[in-house]
């Protein structure tokens, strides 16, 4: 049931977030990332959101310019994994307020914090959106000036470079 790992990468194949729930060597991780990014990016938009890869199932979904990609075991439920991805995106969106790739690039540690409140050790920890965000807020409140990079105006030029 447990998720094996989760990867977020851009349309250009740049890794934005990686969370490994199974112990793997760095070399192995790099290899997997490289192969998966390649495979997923090569898929056509109308194709199935699931992939068989080695003995794992890959469930992926594209949100705007970002690909969310999870690995589960063969007997796991692919559809609910898609909903896990979706719920995570909802959480990010709620937290950042209409999240975009830049939010995740510049605040990736926040994205990790949210992920850790939602999934723990590869299992869904809390399914209530309200509770997850409450936990994050609590930890955040301790921070006097929350740093947020949402300066979209000033980044208009940068975005072109990013993609």
């Amino acid at each position: 049931m447990a998720m094996q790992f989760m990867l977020l990468f851009s349309r250009q194949g740049k890794l934005r977030l990686q969370k490994w729930y199974v112990p793997l060597s760095d070399k192995e991780k790099k290899k997997i990332t490289r192969e998966l990014v390649q495979t997923v990016l090569a898929r056509k938009p109308k194709m199935c959101s699931f992939l068989e890869w080695r003995d794992l199932k890959i469930v992926y979904k594209r949100y705007a310019s970002l690909y969310f990609c999870c690995a589960i075991e063969d007997q796991d439920n692919e559809l609910i994994t898609l909903e896990i991805i979706h719920r995570y995106v909802e959480l990010l969106d709620k937290y950042f307020g209409s999240v975009c790739e830049l939010d995740i690039i510049f605040n990736f540690e926040k994205a990790y914090f949210i992920l850790d409140e939602f999934l723990l050790g590869g299992e869904v920890q809390e399914t209530s959106k309200k509770n997850v965000l409450k936990a994050i807020e609590q930890a955040d409140l301790l921070q006097e000036n929350r740093i947020r990079i949402t300066a979209r105006v000033s980044m208009g030029g940068l975005r072109k470079n990013l993609y």
């Binding site: 049931m1 890794l15 990686q18 112990p23 793997l24 760095d26 056509k44 109308k46 194709m47 199935c48 699931f50 992939l51 068989e52 080695r54 949100y63 705007a64 439920n77 692919e78 559809l79 609910i80 898609l82 909903e83 719920r87 995106v89 909802e90 950042f96 307020g97 209409s98 975009c100 790739e101 510049f106 990736f108 540690e109 990790y112 914090f113 850790d116 723990l120 050790g121 299992e123 869904v124 920890q125 399914t127 209530s128 959106k129 509770n131 936990a135 609590q138 930890a139 301790l142 000036n145 740093i147 947020r148 990079i149 949402t150 300066a151 979209r152 000033s154 940068l158 975005r159 470079n161």
Partner: protein, 1141 residues
Amino acid sequence: MSDIVERTLTALPGLFLQSQPGGGPAAAKTPFSSRLGGLVRGVTALSSKHEEEKLIQQELSSLKATVSAPTTTLKMMKECMVRLMYCEMLGYDASFGYIHAIKLAQQGNLLEKRVGYLAVSLFLHESHELLLLLVNTVVKDLQSTNLVEVCMALTIVSQIFPREMIPAVLPLIEDKLQHSKEIIRRKAVLALYKFHLIAPNQVQHIHIKFRKALCDRDVGVMAASLHIYLRMIKENSSGYKDLTGSFVTILKQVVGGKLPVDFNYHSVPAPWLQIQLLRILGLLGKDDQRTSELMYDVLDESLRRAELNHNVTYAILFECVHTVYSIYPKSELLEKAAKCIGKFVLSPKINLKYLGLKALTCVVQQDPSLALQHQMTIIECLDHPDPIIKRETLELLYRITNSQNVTVIVQKMLEYLHQSKEEYIIVNLVGKIAELAEKYAPDNVWFIQTMNAVFSVGGDVMHPDIPSNFLRLLAEGFDDEMEEQQLRLYAVQSYLSLLDMENVFYPQKFLQVMSWVLGEYSYLLDTEKPEDVIKRLYKLLMSDSISSETKAWLIAAVTKLTAQAQASDTVERVIQEFTVSLDTCIRQHTFELKHLRENVEVMKSLLPVNKSCEDMVVDASLSFLDGYVAEGLSQGAAPYKPHHQRQEEKLSQEKVLNFEPYGLSFSSSGFTGRQSPAGISLGSDISGNSAEAGLKETNSLKLEGVKKLWGKEGYLPQKESAAGDGAEAPPLPPEVSPSENIDQAAAKRTQAQVLAPSKEEKEKQLLASSLFVGLGSESTVSLLGKPDVISHKFRRKSKVKAAKSGEAASTHNLTCSSLNSLSHVAYEENDYLTALQDGEDTESKDLPLGPELSDSESLSELPLAEKVSDCSLSALSLFADSDMEIFQPPSSAAASLTRDIASASCFLEETAGDMCSGRMEVCSDETVSVSSYKLWKDDCLLMVWSVTSKSGSQLKGADLDIFPAQNFKISEQRGCCLPVMEAGSTKNFQYSLQMEKPFTEENLSGFVNYQMVDTHSVQLEFSVNLSLLDFIRPLKISTEDFGKLWLSFANDVKQNIKISEPQAALPSALKMLQQKLRLHVVDIQGNEGLLACRLLPSTSSLLHCRVHADGLALWFRSSCPALPDYLSYQCQKVMMVGPGI
């Protein structure tokens, strides 16, 4: 426009309500975070990987300086960690910062700590040594009064924690289960789940607390506990059946919408929870009608409620279907579930279609009619542009393959195979094709061509069993000898034409298969001489692309062919070329060839034609070396000690507990040291697959009707089969009466389908009928008329069948043994026989228990034996018959013998049901004789010694003592001392014995002290031999229990035993095992038998035995590591002696 689209997430309507507290301009950011920003921007601006590398290396070195500088504040450190994480994500090594991440988690304030913990969780893995440094911090934070700190600590523990340090935090985390905050309780449960995963026995004692968590008033905590339950139930579902009711109740509440709205997800109540519960129920209800009945209602409701057209409801439905099919079936639910599967399969959404196929694949074996219902959809999916859909469809087809649709299905699989590049898929698919081909092949040509494709594509990545099984099938043949020859001939021809093609490279494994087949079966050709084949092999040998392993195979083939060829220049060249090879193995083989060539007669007898399956008689005792050994010994060489003995000695020298007490066994059992069990098994292994023994007439062969079906471009199955069809017969109309042609015709139709898209629909139907033929009722496959069952082509000979899975002789052995065995052959038969006979003789002497044991044992196990009341006499008389040499009654014993009989029968009456051995004198002097016998009681071995006065006068003060022995637990049974007989002239002593530690044979010694009326006390020493068999009792269990036990035992020994008449072997072998080893025959299925026994007091051991062509494959399992070895040794002993003795 695209800008907006990119920026916002498409699928999130209604989530934008909460506007952002306006993000400040970039300039307002703190200098620290701007560093990360700067880094990100810098990296993004670069155009080449090389520049990125340079920039990151720069960044890393500056970070390295910063983190190690003493002036760096924790705040700066936190920022550095974020940048380090970024660098690691890009794939650069930042290991210098790991220790600082731990420090940050330890020393920082809350925010810094949080980043420190995050960095640790990203940088380190479970067994990283630095992780130990974190334990203290975690312990401290777990005790903190600040909830956020406790949360952080629990979060990190649930992600990574060193297993060996669990005891340090376990009590703290257990306490947290009672915490007032639900978030803490929830995280504590998940931390314990993590512990359960990495060290299950450490949390066993708190299982009761998990139950509390399951009943927690907070839904989140309850849901978290389900992770643990799912895992535990997966491991052992029977332990949690009592919770079924609770799970059903929870699911009912969830489905009924009784949970807080917070847990809804797109207005579906707690889908994750539902799915978790459904999985648990599926596991609990599996094969358990009573438990399943509890959940029928709620499953029905779940199926009914999940109607909303949203992905998440489909996720729940899918899980429901899965559960319905895994629990004890209920037709009503199955019907609904089948309907659901239909919804999935027919959905236009590709994800749902995929899951529909997956569900079909799962259930199709239970319900093949479902596949028939959806055959048209399946056909469509077969040509789906998305490879994953295709693959799942093939998986589905693989499960419904039968002899009628195999050609079409295999062809589809081959098409897919040719397109895929990923190794994992290739290995998997190739294995399936090979399996189907062997099982259902309609004819020789098809089979060889399919296997050619398998070998060319699967090549060196495929599972080694595939070529091995293929060669075995060729070698062992099947029922129809004509067919068998045709198959071999066709293989030879097809390989020759493959080798004739220029510039085509085949995988090494394929070449090895070819060279073996050519070496063995080229003689079937009448158009080509062996010389021609040798030439081709020579050409291959000289090629650069051939590995040295393949070369060894090739030379083996050349050697075999040389025996059939007249003088050949090519062989001469091979010899010249390879006697100087740098590879010692090749050189050795070439030298063997060279020397064999000098003696044609020997060569022909060594390498007979078509004898790869004949038994090879191997002198397992290596008796031909006796002279050499004797010479060596006489010159002062140390005698050979087998491996286990050396090990034992080494162990005993090291004063370590000896777990393999073979010790005395071999010297006393009549085997010489070199004839250890290992040696025997080696012998039988070799005999199983070597080639050269005996001579037999070979059948002549027919070549007519065999065509070359190989084009110049290499192997192209579609093309060829099309060409083949075209050449052989006009296209068959679809109404053709069913025959072997059905499949060819069907295959043809599939091709036609590709060619003529205008008739697509019709073609699809044709394909469908060819695919789904043989499934379900006949009416559904009307297009082909009545489906006829085509018999399996390669129905293996019965004896061969068994060989398939067992003692998988590697293909390498096939050649190597044929070469290696050259050296043994000369000494074979006569020596072997004498050795065996010697073995038997000594065996019968040294195993005094054998015969009596068998007969008396038969009383309890075999209904055909005499009644218990007859036992005393028959046991004794048999015993007297066969063991005269050992049991020699003392001169004045005529009278005492009758007494013995009387007393023995008296004992037997008392211990009715228990078996006893014959009485045996263990020591005597002028006045007394001490004899003993064994009583195999159900719970122990009872040794009875009786001291009898020969003169009949009164025994006074006779006493018996047993020397303590390390392997036994001995207790005297005074309480039930047998009545003194014959006016005290006999005194009995009983000792019950238990085995402490397994052994093969062991001596038990003691002494008797007695005093006659008129003399002083005399001491007499004696010893008796005890065997493992004395402590083996039948274990009466059912086949089902056997299966369960089998899986639970880890200690495993496999053994092949050669027996004389394999046909009738099983019954006699089982009988022998039952009689001589006291194994209980649990079940007999075909050529396999299941036996079980227990070693007193309660160590059980299981035996699975299977008869195959060359003998008996034994497979032991037990909970005790040493027991299988001992038992297998005992089995060998009784089997080698044979039933007649």
